[in-house]
């Protein structure tokens, strides 16, 4: 295996394009290192993208944030501006692993690892985040929900790199949140994860909402039916009941070492209610 750490995006792209055999992108490595150890990956080349400045930057223009793909949980958690605008996204990224993992795990890596249980993906989906992808034929924009296509599988080509993730500007009365259920208090993979982003009007009525749902299907889902239950309400009990029902209906989980179908379906509704309340409180301010 060859290891390369290019300093520029162009260099990285040509390494990926010119690679013979399997080339993989290395960001924080917290997924790849585990796969290497467990012998579930055996790439011919690793292209470490952490030294590329475009991938590291966090910028803001008129309330619209762009976060470099190799931004780690620890770094994002230290960025007050992003935390204020997108607390749910930051929560999603900061829930990953331990303090140690936080020092390495990147936002782009979590998205591109495409685990059905990834914590940042439902939050990105809820936030209507757009990934900026660059490949040999130029750049394209892809909605966050369209990156993962199945467990560990993405819509990206082997020689494409996610450079950054953009978040739309939005009104003052907006809020997002991400919650997951795990058996312990840390260091667990989500049994269910729910990201919700919403906006309210002056009367506190929800005008817009997006709901992302993780760990209950082969990939994280955008659930418009669930969002629809919130719009036009002030998240009263009846709306919460409907939200939970819509979320549970969207679940198509499996039984595994992390939870049963019944449990996941049930708790997804509970988590959705709790997440919605937090997002709403943040929106109302």
């Amino acid at each position: 295996m060859q290891y390369e750490a290019p300093q520029t995006l162009d260099a990285a792209l040509s390494l990926l394009a010119g690679a013979t055999g399997q080339a993989r992108i290395l960001a924080g490595g917290t997924d790849i290192m585990v796969q290497l150890h467990m012998d579930t990956t055996d790439p011919d080349m690793l292209v470490d993208i952490k030294n590329i400045s475009e991938l590291r930057a966090i910028t803001e223009t008129d309330g619209a944030f762009t976060i470099g793909a190799v931004t780690t949980g620890a770094e994002l958690g230290e960025n007050e501006a992003v935390k204020k605008m997108w607390p749910g996204v930051v929560e999603g990224l900061e829930l990953i692993g331990s303090t140690q993992v936080q020092g390495r795990a990147t936002i782009g890596g979590n998205l591109c690892n495409a685990s059905p249980a990834a914590d940042v993906i439902p939050a990105l989906i809820a936030a209507n985040a757009i990934t900026n992808v660059v490949g040999p034929n130029g750049s394209r924009e892809v909605a966050a929900e369209d990156i993962p296509v199945g467990p560990g599988k993405t819509s990206l080509a082997q020689d494409e790199i996610v450079v950054s993730i953009s978040f739309p500007a939005r009104g003052a009365r907006a809020g997002d949140a991400y919650l997951r259920f795990i058996p312990r208090t840390e260091m667990d993979i989500a049994v269910v994860g729910v990201g919700i982003s919403l906006e309210v009007d002056e009367a506190g009525v929800c005008t817009q909402a997006r709901v992302g749902l993780g760990a209950v299907a082969e990939k994280a889902l955008l659930v418009p039916e669930a969002a629809a239950t919130l719009i036009g309400t002030s998240l009263d009990d009846a709306a919460m009941e409907k939200l939970a029902a819509a979320i549970s209906a969207a679940c198509r989980p499996i039984n595994d070492r992390r939870g049963t179908i019944e449990f996941r379906t049930d708790v997804a509704g509970v988590m959705a209610r709790r997440t919605a309340k937090i997002a709403y409180d943040r929106a109302v301010g």
Binding site: H37, P183, R184, M187, D188, R257, G259, V267
Partner: protein, 764 residues
């Protein structure tokens, strides 16, 4: 267990200087600086790396193993398979509190006719790097005939279940079965008349409980370094709870004389019973014997979970009858314990402990030792006891509730005490269960009011504690310092405890004693650091060695002063004339005696070679408060207190540490830990992300209350404290969750899906 044995010591009531004090830990600095050498920290020139090929099947016949391609790979120096280990006769020998059979062990370390569990070793290679060794494993071609498998204990007992061994006939049933089965053994313990006991009861409760196999979860994987010499002798460095048992097992499995194998125990990164048997050590020796190069093998975490020795899961039916006013009249239980792929679960101690905390006239306990396609179990702290006592303590708690009696009072009313006849044999000597329960009642914790969705539970537990063969040397050095040589690996501060006792005896400062854990060539046989025996048995031998050294020093002085030995006494670290009648002599201090030793007969040392008897049983009670999230089934531990009789806490910090660590292992076992198998019989959670041991963030502080009811068979009253703390917490947790929810659960782990299911079922 014979408590009446007189060991010739008497408890000393004078003020103690070191025993009971929180002295410095001699190995402490090296363990906070990274210097201490654990299993994987050793290396030797010319060392090769060993890797093991493991079965991907739960059950399969091995048709062929072709290693030729692996052997041809550059950098590969040797390959071993079943053909490199001679078969052994069926012979049971003690290993910890459990027995092992060499015919089985030779098959467990390397599969012979069949692979019997996912992770069973099939072949091993030695190569110049780990990478090459791993590559070589992929080149070994094993042909399997996959067989149906069975994982669950009850299914394994059912007629028609896939058979692991076609030559296994259940022992202990009459008439002897003519057909083989997965049931290795039936045991029964009886006392009184169970039928009339139940006839006299006003309330009878019968329930069946289920627990899953769990792993000890030590953080240090098994690791060893073996080096065979062309002269037929070998050295082995490894992480173990007992270097002498490693020597015994390895010499047998590899086929060499005991004197030719020198085993050095590394510092040990946790064992809890899991490092009392061998897995990789004989393989490393076999590879070294083929190459005459040092071989290092370190398990991966995945291998630790798949291929070491977790503890049994069990299915336990308990029936208890009581009178209206809370007197237990009859106790009955049937225990089905998983042994794994070979016989020898901990069902026997499980049976013996089940009702031992209570003074009951009529008891009947039946145990079954059952095989299934899982790794062969090893000990895990008080092997067998947590599973049976969990079931009993849940039933006891529910009965107390039924008759409206306080659960502590209920236990107090029935508690075993001095003179209580046990169902498994002996009458108890002085034991501290009543004192433990009284201390429990007095806790502030017991009075704290609970909020909504919160519950409080208590559970109690009993463990025998053991003694056993022990050898200690105490060398008096020329400069007046001492070297204390023991053969028990230090799993949690035992060096400090030994030094406290030696210093107390010698009347010198504890800092003058340097403790060494010997390799097997230095001392005679020592049993394991297990069964809560170290502070008791190794402590007894240390005390005896110190007294022997004192006697030798008194002899030297008597000779020097030319007075009888009787006329010289030892006080405060010096030899003194017994009285003015003995003559006028200035006291001679230990350093003074040491300095002139060459002139008085040469080096001075104390020795002890004993088989320690009279271990004092240990009783404990745990009290826990939990809060349950009723929408998710998540359980949070709010408060936890451990109350246990230590006999005497030689070093209170390490006694507290045993209590706290055991309590948290209970919490893990109770809430989340379990081996999860897929339909294919393969383990699905062989890592710490999905085998969920408790984290710092999951827990509150763990309060402790050390009760001291001395064991009369130890000069300072030591009972041993390592095992009991893993017992009471399972039921305490279950009872607390019951209390919070107003419903009773009867399985472990009480993971969120199970708790939520129980809540839903109760609300229909």
């Amino acid at each position: 267990m014979d408590n009446s044995m007189d060991v010739g010591y008497s408890a000393d009531d004078k003020e103690l200087k070191f025993v009971g004090k929180r002295t410095n830990r001699p190995d402490g600095v090296d363990k906070v600086t990274g210097r201490a050498r654990f299993g994987a920290d050793a290396r030797l020139p010319g060392m090769l790396y060993g890797k093991i090929l493991r079965s991907p099947h739960a059950h399969a016949r091995i048709i062929s193993i072709d290693t030729s391609k692996a052997e041809a790979l550059s950098g590969v120096k040797a390959v071993v398979t079943r053909d490199d280990f001679e078969d052994r006769d069926s012979e049971f020998v003690p290993a910890g509190e459990m027995m092992v059979n060499y015919r089985d062990m030779v098959r467990n370390i390397m599969a012979r006719e069949k692979v019997l569990y996912d992770g069973h070793a099939v072949a091993a290679v030695a190569a110049t790097s780990v990478t090459i060794a791993k590559q070589a494993l992929k080149l070994i071609d094993v042909q399997y005939e996959v067989l149906p498998h069975v994982i669950d204990v009850v299914e394994a007992m059912a007629p028609g279940a896939p058979l692991l061994h076609d030559d296994l006939f259940t022992d202990g049933v009459e008439p002897k079965p003519t057909k083989p089965s997965n049931v290795a053994k039936r045991l029964e313990f009886n006392m009184g008349d169970i039928a009339s006991g139940f006839a006299e009861a006003d309330e009878i409760l019968e329930k069946t409980f289920d627990t899953k196999p769990v792993h000890q979860g030590y953080i240090e994987p098994h690791s060893c370094l073996a080096s065979f010499s062309e002269n037929g002798s070998a050295e082995l460095w490894c992480s173990t709870q007992g270097q002498y048992l490693v020597r015994a097992h390895c010499s047998k499995l590899v086929g060499m004389e005991i004197s030719k194998l020198r085993v050095t125990p590394s510092e040990i990164g946790g064992g809890f019973g899991g490092k009392t048997v061998v897995f990789i050590e004989p393989i490393a020796l076999a590879l070294s014997k083929k190459t005459y190069r040092p071989i290092k093998i370190t398990m991966t975490r995945d291998e630790v979970f798949r291929s070491s020795g977790p503890t049994s899961g069990g299915n336990v039916r308990v029936k208890v009858g009581i009178t209206k006013d809370g007197k237990i009249m009859a106790c009955e239980a049937e225990l089905k314990y998983q042994a794994g792929a070979f016989q020898g679960s901990s069902v026997q101690p499980g049976c013996m402990c089940a009702f031992a905390p209570y003074d009951v006239a009529n008891v009947n306990v039946i145990g079954w030792d059952v095989l299934s396609n899982r790794p062969k179990v090893a000990a895990y702290r008080a092997p067998g006891a947590p599973i049976s006592e969990y079931a009993v303590e849940c039933v006891i708690d529910e009965l107390a509730e039924r008759i409206g009696m306080d659960p502590v009072d209920f236990r107090l009313k029935n508690a075993a005490k001095e003179g209580t006849q046990t169902a498994y044999g002996p009458k108890f000597g002085p034991v501290g269960f009543v004192e433990v329960l009284e201390a429990t009642k007095a806790l502030d914790h017991y009075k704290i009011p609970l909020g909504p969705n919160q519950g409080r539970g208590i559970g109690s537990g009993f463990w025998f504690n053991i003694g056993g063969e022990t050898c200690v040397n105490l060398n008096v050095n020329e400069d007046g310092t001492l070297t204390l040589i023991t053969g028990s690996p230090d799993i949690g501060g035992s060096r400090a405890s030994m030094c406290n006792m030696a210093a107390e005896e010698l009347g010198i400062d504890v800092g003058l004693i340097n403790p060494i854990i010997a390799d097997t060539s230095v001392l005679g046989f020592n049993f394991l650091s297990a069964g809560s025996r170290t502070t008791f048995a190794c402590g007894l031998a240390t005390i005896e060695a110190a007294r022997n050294a004192i006697e030798n020093m008194r002899k030297r002085v008597a000779q020097l002063w030319d007075i009888p030995l009787d006329a010289v006494v030892w006080e405060d670290g010096a030899a003194r004339p017994a009285s003015s009648n003995a003559g006028e002599f200035e006291p001679m201090t230990l350093p003074e005696i040491a300095k002139i030793a060459p002139k008085t007969g040469g080096p001075i040392a104390g020795h002890a070679e004993i088989n320690a008897q009279g271990a004092g049983p240990g009783f404990g009670t745990h009290m826990v408060d939990v809060e349950v999230d009723k929408e998710t089934g998540h359980v949070k531990v709010l408060r936890y207190t451990v109350i246990q009789d230590a006999g005497k806490a030689i070093h209170p910090s390490f006694v507290e540490g045993q209590y706290q660590g055991g309590a948290v292992q209970c919490i893990g076992w109770a809430l989340n830990e379990e081996y999860v198998y897929g339909e294919d019989g393969r383990l699905q959670n062989s890592g710490f992300l999905d085998y969920r041991i408790p984290l710092a963030s999951d827990l509150p502080m763990i309060d402790t209350k050390i009760v001291e009811v001395p064991n009369p068979n130890h000069p300072y009253g030591v009972r041993g404290v390592g095992e009991t703390p893993i017992i009471p917490g399972l039921a305490a947790m279950s009872n607390a969750i019951s209390n919070a929810l107003g419903l009773r659960m009867s399985e472990l782990p009480m993971s969120p899906p199970k708790v939520l299911k129980a809540i839903k079922e109760a609300s229909v």
